[in-house]
Amino acid sequence: MSRILPEREVVIVGFGWTGAIMAEQLTEAGMDVLALERGVWRDTSTDYAVNNAQDEVRYRYRDELFEDLSRETLTFRNTSDQQALPMRMLGSFLPGTNVGGSGVHWNGQTWRFLPSDFQARSHNVERYGEDAIQDDMTIQDWGVTYDELEPHYDYFEKICGISGKAGNLNGEIQDGGNPFEGWRSSEYPNPPMEMVAAPLKFRDAARELGYNPFPGPSANMSQGYTNPLGVQLAPCTYCGFCEKYACGNYSKATATTTILPALMRRENFTLRTGAMVLRVEKDSSNSRATGVTYLNTEGEEFFQPAQMVILAGYITHNVNLLMQSGIGEIYNPETGEGQVGRNYAYQIMSGASVFYDDDFAVNPFVGAGALGQVIDEFNGDNFDHTGLGFIGGGYIAQWQTNGRPIESHPVPEGTPKFGAGWKKAVRESYNHTVGVGAHGAVMSFRGNYLDLDPTYTDAYGRPLMRLTFDFKQNDIRMSNYLTGKVAEIANAMGGREVSVSPVKTPYDIAPYQTTHNTGGHIMGDNPGNSVTNKYNQSWDLPNLFLTGAGNFPQNPGYNPTGTVAALAYHSAKAIREQYLRNPGPLVQA
């Protein structure tokens, strides 16, 4: 029997990037907002002090910022005919927990998707014909356009103080930026980061080969910055502890460093930590969400009534909450029916390492999560795919993210895996190796999806989420094509030797790849192909909104955070300007 709490206007489940964005936008409009976070309060000064934040054992290897799999996890298999087993250790991806969510430990590579990415199906069909959509591919248009999202990308970049160089200002191509990007209404709020030796090697080689390298857009500050909320960010010190770490210097944009200082002062906002939401409750006619049921850390159960529910958890949790609450129909890959859990996608990574002799020192410890040079010639539909046998693409980059001593020890091919030979190679290579990577799109396919596991349950007795995923032919061909381009540039970088690492198949959930999981509660233009409309409002319950990368119908070749945030601002704007006046479906089905 749960205790019933006083009703709130808005309850937000999960308090990472999008939870904070929605709370900020809706409290600014005068709404009364309560955010529920399963984890604990975390702040820069009290938890990630600059003199102890750089601790590899504590953060990377003891998972301090990541979710606790002993309470909730998922089961995994590559294909529907296999038996899925629980993921008992974090590996391929690292969802966060606590205030700030996964956004606390991101690198800060902050992209916009290409305009054509939002028309993934119609654009490719128009250019290459129906045959381009192959292999049970289930990609679709988003229902929202780049032009609609542009102001929200722009605002998010200003909230974060993104360091970069525009390549397309209002349609005019700019020197030094990404000439392929969609139009932007203003220059980045901060200049690019100061480049170090490795990205410059990449830049020069890429230029030689006729490409257009440009500085990666970075949420690591190139200079001191005050954002539109009055919140301050400090210049990055290039310490090389971004991804998997919290920044101790206020130099990486996160919800904690850009929004919370302003939001937490507002009297119409409440944050309740230690609140584990178990399900969304509905009224008897299945037409509205009435609130959420959660457990506190003592295990007591509460019902929190609310006029509006926003699910802002990591994608697997958002999808899980829909399934546990019986909202919508769970996807069936056999029949193609049901939308919840459909179109799970990921990212496909490959790369090469260039090994130099002693005459070129990299100083990899001078790094930052989004310090790098990039080419975008092979992303999305920036190149002609005719005859290539795939659609989609990715960017190729040299990011100098870190030289962290435990994690970072590249060695040439043929080096022993341990012992004196390995140690010697680590010593020789540590300061003389440059990595180049391809960050590729993953399309959506009939056989890649989330549903509920029939065997395993979590600490709360609920069935675990089951992930069925493998890389499919379209994406493997694409990745191999990009890997060829990576090798071409790597070989032009003047090293002693190059070792190339193509994507490994089948997909293995154990080695770290990227925390860019997408889909499962995708958006679209009608209830027959999606869970939410273009405003990320549930088709089933109009007072339920879902934020995050779960809305992506497929995963383009860029890091997702910029788009995740732009979608949240787009959704908040619709709530403020349309829903409040006329609560109900914002798009008629």
């Binding site: 820069t44 000064s45 009290t46 002090a49 600059v50 003199n51 102890n52 001191g224 005050t226 909320l229 009055g230 919140v231 301050q232 400090a234 210049p235 010190t237 310490c239 101790g248 210097n249 206020y250 460093t257 200082p261 302003a262 002062r265």
Partner: protein, 405 residues
């Protein structure tokens, strides 16, 4: 608002304290609230997390701990039975209705300058609070000071009762600033050094800096070298009091609370007045001569430079330049060069957190180094920051650090 009205009706029903009903106007109440903030009454009379103004906060003094009174209108344990006259007497003479004398931890030596009208407004406001029953502990003061009549003697020596006569050749703003600073705002309670008997020193010694809760409250006069407010402009000081920081420093420690609970609410006129008064104070004679910098090749300086580079420079900059409006510059910092190194050493040991304000919501913090640096290392880096980048101040010894740790 509804709550305030409710409280007024409640205390109106309670009767006794609400005799002067003509004071019950919104403008009086608002003035009372404003003045209560100017006086920062909440700083001592509230305990974090408890009902505001219900008292009970222990105030350590060199003579023992005194507990701040409950100033809510509770009949049994607060000011519920007090009259406006009795409140005025307590404020300005340090005497309770029962004739007992207050200890000067309650700054009646300042509040004696407060006008009757202002005192009444504060009393009117306090009477709108919810009455809270909270029987505050008796002071832990040893004999003979626990005999409150002993305060008569103290008062004879150190208490100048009465109002401030306006100084004719000073501006109206200056006189207003003086009235507030010397009176309700009681700035000297922290920023003026005290004598053996706990009384603030007068004359040129006033506002030359005092030690409060183990922090050194810096001189407000300016002085030789980098001491005090000498090179703060009027805008710097106003920005600091209004928003908790300026290009030079951020409020931390006890001053953070003062900004948060008091000075940020000052009206533009009153803020300007206080700034005008302090910027007009003559330079103090702090420790005589300006300090000579410690030599660059002194072993403490070379060791300190290394510690600075690895532990401090990420925020404060390789040249001590800081980050404008975020991390304090060390070059030219009056705090770093203060004659009394207490604050510098405590900052390094314990860290400090900037007060978040509306304009600067980010509460940047200096982390604590007590776990990371030895006494010797703290002394070395403290000596370094006091003497690098053009700074000059006496060296800090490991013994000083050990005492403060």
């Amino acid at each position: 608002m509804r709550q305030v009205i409710g409280a007024i009706i409640l205390s109106g029903c309670a009767g006794a304290a609400w005799a002067q009903s003509d004071a019950n106007t919104w403008s009086t109440l608002q003035r009372g609230l404003y003045l209560t903030r100017v006086g920062d009454c909440a700083a001592c009379h509230s305990v974090e997390g408890e009902e505001p103004y219900a008292g009970g906060l222990g105030l350590p003094t060199p003579f023992g701990t005194i507990y701040a009174a409950n100033i809510t209108p509770d009949n049994a344990t607060g000011l519920g039975e007090w009259s406006q006259d009795e409140f005025y007497d307590a404020m300005t003479e340090g005497v309770r209705p029962d004739g007992k004398r207050l200890y000067p931890a309650f700054p009646y030596t300042h509040f004696t300058h407060v006008t009757r009208e202002d005192s009444d407004a504060i009393f009117t406001y306090l009477n709108t609070l919810d009455p809270v029953r909270n029987d505050v502990e008796s002071p832990e003061i040893p004999f003979p000071l626990n005999v409150r009549t002993a305060m008569r003697g103290w008062n004879m020596l150190f208490f100048d009762e009465g109002k401030l006569e306006p100084v004719e050749d000073k501006s109206e703003a200056w006189n207003r600033g003086r009235y507030l600073a010397e009176g309700l705002a009681h700035c000297g309670a922290c920023h003026t050094p005290r004598n053996m008997l706990g009384a603030e020193k007068g004359g040129n010694a006033a506002y030359t800096g005092g030690v409060i809760e183990g922090w050194f409250a810096p001189s407000l006069r300016g002085g030789p070298g980098g001491e005090g407010l000498a090179d703060w402009s009027e805008e710097d000081l106003a920005e600091f009091l209004r928003h908790g920081r300026n290009g030079r420093s951020a409020a931390f420690g006890p001053m953070a609370e003062v900004v948060e609970k008091s000075t940020r609410y000052l009206s533009d006129e009153d803020l300007e007045a206080i700034v005008a008064y302090f910027k007009d104070l003559p330079f103090g004679e702090v420790d005589g001569e300006a300090a000579e910098p410690v030599a660059e090749d002194d072993p403490a300086m070379t060791a300190g430079a290394e510690i600075y580079a690895t532990q401090c420079s990420a925020c404060h900059g390789p040249e001590g330049e800081g980050v404008a409006g975020q991390f304090a510059p060390i070059a030219g910092s009056s705090l770093a060069q203060s004659s009394d190194p207490t604050t510098v050493v405590r900052m390094i040991l314990e860290g400090a957190r900037a007060v978040p304000t509306e304009k600067y919501p980010t509460a940047q913090a200096m982390p604590a180094y007590h776990w990371k640096l030895s006494d010797e290392e703290v002394a070395q880096v403290a000596t370094y920051v006091r003497n690098a980048f053009g700074n000059a101040a006496p060296a800090v010894s490991a013994g000083t650090v050990a005492d403060l740790r």
